[in-house]
């Protein structure tokens, strides 16, 4: 049997074991949605890191650095620094004042129904975009890695079914441990690969960076070029490159703290202090990982070279191909299995954040006015919606097909999180005057501005030469109206403005009256949700 396949199956077996174990401990809403709030700080830290180090980071970032050098490394930087916003501003107030979702904090002093409905819409939107990107990636990857033994559709369906099983039976507890398992594997793989790269250069940084300074490849015109890959500007070229870079930075710095699947993690720990420690644990892991993308990305550029990668599966295959070149097929299989595990775990996390918001915010609080009509109804609805979310994601990924250009979906998820979610969370915690109209208009404007600007950005609008066919063609064949790939620089201010103007146009004394309560609760942890006792 194929080694890659054996390793995939091994990971699946382990995770199904975890799910079975977790299923016996997932009765009740606190247990199902928040793992009983009993996850330890370091465990949650590893899980947060695992959530964040998606296939986009592991495969994508190695690929971008391998092809565009230094500019790719800038993604790595932003992804870590973003956690300072989570640590300093969001994690503790959210843990103190909320229960299962970010909308809990918003609903505190605002009118719960309109606010939850909008917050749920934005949560489900972010999670679905992110998920589809992962699913399409998974399908294409598995097909490539298993060398045609399995089709794209089969790969998408199996990823979809597995994620439904994790979430339906194991809830947050299973999702957390699947995430931890995968994060440890991913770190181990990355460390090994980095050591192998350095061994290739006789453990001499001088020799390594010397090679990075002279990467030889053929450009789009077929000319042989030698480039210094440490030099900026290979990806972000004038006139709009620098602005795009700043816009990307804004989306990362403010978007991470608004990603629903990251925020739900802080409800799985006993208190705000543990939430804080889990962010620090996550930052240590995430930072080390992204520093090592230096070795993965530049290693791929120097050891195997962009030309080789291009003809052997493309950008996203840089890390696995590097592993193969350095240590042969078994290591290739190991790295591939890790990439697959990464996708599965992240997709499960996205599913649970979407279904939690659907059942807790929309079903219980909006449709049934905050009353759970029957004990266990909320969990039941979440389980059913996991099926629906899974089925919809499978269907969309199959319709889009393996060659679809989906990288923009992740950018979109960050942009929506930064432009819609973050402004209203921040304003509801810090601004006494803030009210329901402001929250609803902030969420709506942020959501529409980011989706609208991406629709008319170069990611979706461009004139392709006739040689580009099928799903790889841009959706709209015309010159882009908005010159940047990342809408953050406009959509984030738009989200804040929407929230502020909406607030100023209406009066809501009740919201101001309850501000002190939220202020005290979020800053002291008075009355915060506790861990279920043994």
């Amino acid at each position: 049997m194929n080694v890659s396949l054996a390793m995939f199956l091994g990971f699946i077996a382990v995770t199904l074991g975890i799910t079975y174990w977790a299923s016996k401990r997932s009765a009740g809403a606190n247990a199902y949605f928040a793992a009983g709030r009993q996850i330890k700080g370091w465990q949650n830290g590893i899980a947060v890191a695992g959530d964040y180090m998606s296939a986009a980071s592991f495969l994508g970032i190695a690929g971008i650095i391998a092809f565009q050098g230094y500019d790719g490394f800038l993604f790595s930087v932003g992804w870590l620094v973003a956690y300072l916003t989570v640590l300093l501003v969001i994690a503790e107030p959210l843990r103190n004042a909320g229960k299962y979702t970010m909308a809990d904090v918003l609903a505190y002093r605002l009118k719960p129904r309109p606010v939850r409905a909008m917050a749920s819409l934005s949560t489900v939107t972010v999670s679905t975009f992110y998920m589809i990107a992962q699913m399409v990636g998974a399908g294409a990857l598995v097909k490539l890695l298993l060398g045609g033994k399995i089709t794209y559709n089969q790969a998408v369906i199996s990823v979809g079914i597995l994620m439904i099983v994790y979430v339906v039976f194991g809830g947050m507890l299973a999702t957390t441990w699947v995430q931890i398992t995968k994060a440890i594997l991913l770190m181990a793989g990355t460390i090994l690969l980095s050591i192998l790269v350095m061994a290739h250069f006789h453990f001499s940084f001088g020799e390594f960076f010397g090679a990075v300074g002279h990467v030889t490849y053929h450009d789009a015109k077929g000319q042989e070029v030698v480039k210094d890959f440490l030099q900026p500007g290979l990806r972000y070229k004038p006139p709009y490159g620098p602005l795009d870079l700043i816009s990307l930075g804004l989306a990362l710095i403010f978007g991470t703290a608004g990603l629903p699947h990251i925020l739900v993690r802080f409800y799985t720990v006993p208190d705000a202090k543990t939430a804080r420690h889990s962010v620090v644990w996550a930052m240590v892991l995430i930072g080390s990982f992204y520093i090592m993308t230096t070795f993965l990305g530049f290693g791929a550029a120097t050891v195997i070279g962009p030309d080789f990668i291009k003809t052997h599966g493309g950008t996203n295959m840089s890390a696995p191909l590097l592993a193969q070149a350095l240590a042969g097929n078994i290591f290739f299989a190991f790295i591939s299995a890790i990439a697959f595990a990464t996708i599965l775990a992240v997709v499960a996390e996205l599913t649970i954040s979407a279904t939690t918001s659907f059942s807790h915010d929309l079903w219980t609080n909006v449709i049934h006015n905050g009353v759970e009509r029957k004990a266990g109804e909320e969990v039941l609805v979440a389980r059913i919606s996991a099926f629906v979310v899974g089925a919809v994601a499978i269907a969309i990924a199959i319709v889009l097909g393996p060659t679809a250009n989906v990288a923009f979906l992740v950018a979109l998820a960050f942009a929506v999180a930064a432009s819609a979610n973050l402004p209203v969370i921040v304003l509801s915690i810090f601004w006494r005057r803030f009210n329901t109209a402001g929250a609803v208009s902030g969420l709506a404007v942020g959501l529409l501005a980011s989706i609208g600007l991406i629709l008319v950005s170069p990611s979706l609008m461009a004139i392709d030469p006739p040689t580009v066919t099928g799903a790889a063609r841009h959706l709209i064949q015309a010159k882009a109206w908005f010159p940047l790939e990342n809408p953050g620089i406009l959509s984030i201010p738009a989200g804040f403005l929407g929230a502020i103007i909406g607030t100023l146009l209406s009066r809501e004394p009740a919201s101001q009256d309850k501000f002190n309560e939220l202020l005290v609760r979020s800053n002291t942890g008075l009355g915060a949700e506790r861990a279920s006792s043994h």
């Binding site: 401990r25 960076f209 030099q231 009256d513 043994h534």
Partner: protein, 122 residues
């Protein structure tokens, strides 16, 4: 799933509730104002510092690529070293925050205990 596990849903202790007047009183009290001031003194400068430090990177790299390409350490240029320094900046601020937050916890704990005691007394 089916069978209920022994340590499943344990009834949550009833959430702390009190009147609006009491919330206002806590919010206006000296210990709480001290807590907020202590937090602000650390968090606001730390936030401003990291945002400025971080955005200096895309701004410099984007608008002064030639300058940032200056080699300072063998092959390593300013651009790479500045990017690398961001990781350490983030770790240092996180470490300082955890230290400062020990103080926040202490102040918050005093408020918590007082509030929970006065509730118990009623």
């Amino acid at each position: 799933m089916g069978s209920a596990a022994p340590n499943a849903e344990v009834a949550q202790p009833k959430r702390y509730e009190t009147s609006r007047a009491n919330w206002d009183e806590i919010a206006e009290s000296k210990p709480f104002k001290d807590l907020m001031a202590t937090k602000k003194i650390f968090i606001v400068p730390a936030f401003v510092f990291f945002v400025v430090y971080y955005f200096a990177l895309p701004v410099l790299v984007g608008y002064a690529p030639q300058f940032m390409s200056t080699k300072v350490l063998g092959q390593l240029n300013l651009a790479y070293l500045f990017a690398l320094s961001q990781f350490f900046m983030a770790w240092i601020i996180a470490g300082l925050y955890v230290r400062a937050a020990g103080n926040f916890d202490r102040l918050a704990n005093d408020i918590l205990q007082k509030a929970e005691k006065s509730e118990g007394g009623k």
